[in-house]
C-alpha cells in the first residue's frame, strides 16, 4: 500500500485523518447540493485523498475529475466540527495532480485563463478588445448567429461582461485625512483593477477618511490565488514573493477588497514561512473599516448581502460587513437565504465548468429575488461579475455593489 502521493507538497495525512466522516459538511457543499453524490462532497473528496494516501486509488482521471469539480469555496471548513483544513488539503492534492496526475480536462482553456487573469496589462488589453467587440456590433452579430451555443465557455465569458469601465491609474500615495491612525498598503488586484476601478478608488478614499495613509505600489502584481487553487504552486510562490516585496515593510496593514486575494495572502505563511509577517498584516478592507469611525449620511435603500466564500469561509469575516452596512442611516439590510452558498464564480470555475456554475447561480438568483432587495452587496469581484450577469440574463432588476461603494455613497451623503 504505497501512497499515490509523492515528493513535496503531499497532502498532510494527519489533517486528512481528522475527518471522522460525520457528513456535517455535505449540505453546505455547492457541488453536493447540485449533484447529490458522495464523491462530489467534501467528505467524499477527503475519503478519496485518504484512499490515495493509503494506496487504494491512483491519481486517475476519475479521481482528478471529482477534485476538479470542487469550487474551493471552503464552506466545508466553516461546517467542520473537527476543524479539517480542507482548503490546504485541496491545494496540496491539486499540486500532486499537476506533477503526477493526468492532465486537466480543460487544459487549453485553463492555460488561456491563467495567462490572462493574473496579468493586469494583458487583461486590460483583452478588455479593450472586448469594448471594441461590443461597440462594433460584432457581439450582436455573434449572439444572433448563435455561435456561442457551440462553445459554452465563450458564452459564459461573453455573458459575464456587460459594461467595461476604463480603468484610470490610482495615485501612489493617498494622504490620511484628519487624525492619522497608521499606514495601509492597498492591493489593487487584477480583475478588480480592470473591471471595478471605482471599488479601488472608494477603498482608498474610505481608508484615508478612516485615518490611514494609503500606499499603492504601482509595480504590484497578482497575489497568485488562482494558481494556488489550481495546484500550480511554483507559479503561486513566485507571485507571492514578488507581491510581498512590492509593499514597504513598515505598513500597519496590507488591505485588499477582493476576498479571494485576501484569503490567499493571509495564508502565505503556510507554504512560505518567510512571508508570515507580511501575511499577518493582511486585512480585508471591511475588517479595517469595521474598527474605524466613518461620517455616514443617510441612504434610503434596501440591500441584501451575499457572503463571498473567501471572506466568510476563507477569512471568517461574516458579521463585520453586515454591521458596517447597518451603520448607514436609513439602509435596510435584509438577510439573503443561503447567503454563504457559492454563486458559482469561484475564480475561473464559471468558465471551466459553466454547467454547475449556472445551477448555483440559478439558486443564488432565486434567493435574491425572494428578498425583494434591488441592491446586492458582495465583497469580491468574481461574485459581483457572476451574480450581475445572472440577474441580467434573467431580467431581474438588481444592481451589484461592493460594500465599500455603499459606504462611499453614504460618506458623500453626509458631506452634501
Amino acid at each position: 500500500m504505497t501512497s499515490a502521493f509523492r515528493g513535496p507538497d503531499a497532502p498532510d495525512v494527519e489533517e486528512i485523518r481528522k475527518c471522522v466522516h460525520c457528513g456535517i459538511c455535505l449540505p453546505t457543499c455547492p457541488t453536493y447540493r447540485v449533484l447529490g453524490e458522495e464523491m462530489d462532497s467534501p467528505r467524499g473528496r477527503i475519503y478519496l485523498m485518504r484512499a490515495a494516501a493509503e494506496g487504494r486509488v491512483e491519481l486517475s482521471e476519475t479521481f482528478r475529475r471529482h477534485l476538479d469539480l470542487c469550487l474551493g469555496c471552503r464552506a466545508c471548513e466553516t461546517a467542520c466540527p473537527s476543524g479539517v483544513r480542507f482548503g490546504s488539503l485541496l491545494e496540496a492534492t491539486r499540486a500532486q495532480l499537476r506533477r503526477h496526475g493526468p492532465p486537466p480536462k480543460h487544459r487549453l482553456l485553463e492555460a488561456f485563463a491563467f495567462s490572462l487573469f493574473p496579468e493586469p496589462a494583458r487583461l486590460g488589453a483583452a478588455l479593450a478588445a472586448f469594448r471594441l467587440y461590443r461597440a462594433s456590433g460584432l457581439r450582436a452579430l455573434v449572439r444572433a448567429i448563435g455561435v456561442l451555443r457551440l462553445a459554452p465557455t465563450l458564452a459564459a465569458m461573453d455573458a459575464l461582461l456587460d459594461e467595461v469601465p476604463r480603468a484610470g491609474p490610482l495615485p501612489e500615495l493617498v494622504p490620511a485625512r484628519g487624525r492619522v491612525r497608521g499606514r495601509a498598503g492597498l492591493l489593487t488586484g487584477c480583475v478588480q483593477r480592470q473591471l471595478y476601478p471605482q471599488v479601488n478608488r472608494d477603498t482608498a478614499r474610505l481608508l484615508a477618511i478612516a485615518g490611514y495613509e494609503v500606499v499603492i505600489p504601482t509595480g504590484q502584481g497578482c497575489c497568485g490565488a488562482l494558481e494556488l487553487h489550481a495546484g500550480l504552486v511554483d507559479a503561486y510562490s513566485a507571485r507571492a514573493r514578488t507581491l510581498a516585496a512590492s509593499f514597504p515593510s513598515d505598513l500597519d496593514f496590507v488591505v485588499t477588497n477582493a476576498a479571494g486575494c485576501g484569503s490567499a495572502m493571509k495564508e502565505y505563511g503556510n507554504r512560505l514561512p518567510e512571508l508570515a509577517p507580511f501575511a499577518g498584516r493582511v486585512r480585508d478592507v471591511i475588517e479595517v473599516l469595521a474598527g474605524a469611525e466613518l461620517p455616514l449620511g443617510r441612504l434610503d435603500l434596501t440591500v441584501t448581502y451575499h457572503d463571498a466564500c473567501h471572506l466568510a469561509h476563507g477569512q471568517r469575516v461574516r458579521q463585520e460587513p453586515r454591521e458596517l452596512l447597518r451603520r448607514i442611516p436609513g439602509l435596510k439590510l435584509v438577510e439573503l437565504g443561503d447567503s454563504d452558498l457559492c454563486c458559482g464564480s469561484a475564480g475561473v470555475y464559471n468558465l471551466l465548468e459553466p454547467g454547475i456554475a449556472d445551477e448555483l447561480l440559478e439558486l443564488k438568483i432565486a434567493r435574491i429575488a425572494e428578498t425583494g432587495a434591488r441592491l446586492v452587496a458582495a465583497a469580491n469581484p468574481g461574485c459581483l461579475l457572476q451574480i450581475a450577469s445572472g440577474c441580467r440574463q434573467r431580467g431581474l432588476d438588481v444592481t451589484l455593489v461592493h460594500p465599500v461603494e455603499l459606504l462611499a455613497r453614504a460618506v458623500d451623503a453626509h458631506t452634501s
Partner: protein, 481 residues
Amino acid sequence: MPLSRTLLADLERIVGAGGLVRSYEGRLVYESDMHTFYKGAPDVVALPTRTDQVVAIVRLCRAERVPIVPRGSGTGLIGGAMAPQGGVMIGLNRMDKILEIDLPNRCATVQPGLINLFLTQAVANSGYFFAPDPSSQMVSSIGGNVSTNAGGPHCLKYGITTNHVLGLELVTGTGEAVRLGGKVVDRPGYDLTGIAVGSEGTFGIVTAVTVRLLHAPEAVRTILASFVAIEDASEAVSAIIAAGMIPAALEMLDEMMIRAINEGSNAGYPKDAAAVLLIELDGPLAEVMAQSERAAQICWERGALEVRVARDDAERALLWKGRKEAAGAVGRLAPTYLLQDAVVPRSKLPTIMRELIAIGARHRVRIANVFHAGDGNLHPLILYDDRDPEELERAKAANEELLNACIAMGGTVTGEHGVGLDKAKNLPLQYADADLNFMYRLRRAFDPETIMNPGKLLPSHPACGEGFRPARPRVPDGAWI
C-alpha cells in the same frame, strides 16, 4: 459476484448514465457510513429521482437476486448504509423534495432524501417544526431517520421518529410500491407504518414519508449547569425527572467531550467542569419559567459549579450547535472511535458512569461521553487510532465489556441509532429465539428473497447466510427499556 452487463445496462436505462456511479473511485466513497470501522463498497450506486425508478430497480435486482442497500446522507452510526455483500446501492439524495405541506392538518409529505432540518426550516416561519431532532439533523435524511427510528435530544418530551410518522410509501422487496398509513391518525387494520419504521431497509425502500408537524412552543428556556463530578450531574438528572418535570431535552457531556466541542464551535461550554447538563424546558411561558427555576435549584442543590440560562436565541443556538456537533468534533481527540448507544435505567446513571471510568482505565482507552441523560441513553465514544491494531483490540474489549455492563443493569443494546451491521450480533442478548424467528418471518413477508439490505438488523445464521444465531436472551423479562 460482479453484476451482469445486462443488469448494468438496464440500470442505466432506468436512471440514466448521470444517475449511475460505476467507477471504482465513485463506489469507494460509498463503502462506509459514519461508522467507518465497517467497509463494503457496492458494485454500483443508482441515484433515482422518482418512485417508479426505485420500483424498476428493485424488480431487476429481485430477478437476479442482487442485494440492494438503501442510503440517505450516510450519517448512520451502525454500518447500515454500506454494502458488505456488494450489490446495488440506492442513494436517495436526489429524492429530496417536499411534496406537500398541509398546515391545517399539521403534516407534510416529503421524499426520503430530504434533510431533516430543511423541513423545519421550511415551516418555521409559519410557527411549526418537525420534532425528531437527531444530532445529525443538519445533514441526516428523513428517510434515514425513519429507517433507524432515530431519536434525538428533544425526543425525551416529544417522542422518537415513529411517533411522528403518519404514513409511508414503501417499495417492498417484491418491487411493489405500497402505501402504509396516511394523514388520518387512526386507520383501520394493521399498523403497518409502525412496523416499517425502524426496519432499516430490510423491508424495502421508503420513497415518501408523511410526517406530523408540531406547533412551536410559546416559550423555550435553555439552562447550562456544570458540575465537578459526573456523579453529581447524574444525580441532578434523576432529581429533575423525579420532581415530575419532562424537560424538552436533558443532555449530559463530560470533560473530554466539552474540550472537543469548545475547540470546534467555540460554543462557550465551561472549561473546568467534569460534566455539563444542558436542560431545555419549553411550553407555555408561565410553566416554563416555574420549571426552569425549579430545575436550576435542583442543580444548585446537587453541587453545581455554575447554572446559567441562555440569554437569547443566539446563545441557545450556539449551545445546541456545540452539542449536536459533538460526535463530529471527535476528530480533534482521535482519528477513530467506537460508539455505543446502550440504554440503562435512568436511576443507574451514576453507577454506569463509575463502571465506565473503571472500564476505560482497565483497558487503557480514553472514553469521551455525550448522552441523552433524560432517557438513560449513553453514547460513550471509545477513542483509538486505527493504525495501532493493539489499541483497536483494547477498544473492542472495552466496548464489549461496557455493553455487557449496561445489559446487566437491565438496559438495552441500542437506544436510537439502530442495529445495522454493528449490533446485529448483539440482538440475541435482547430477544428470545421465538422473538427473532418471528421478526425473520415478518421480514420475509416484505422481502421474500432477503435481498433488501442483507446482513443488517437481524443476526445472520452461519448456515444459510440470513436468519439468526440461536441464543438464549440474557436480558431478564420485564427489563427496563
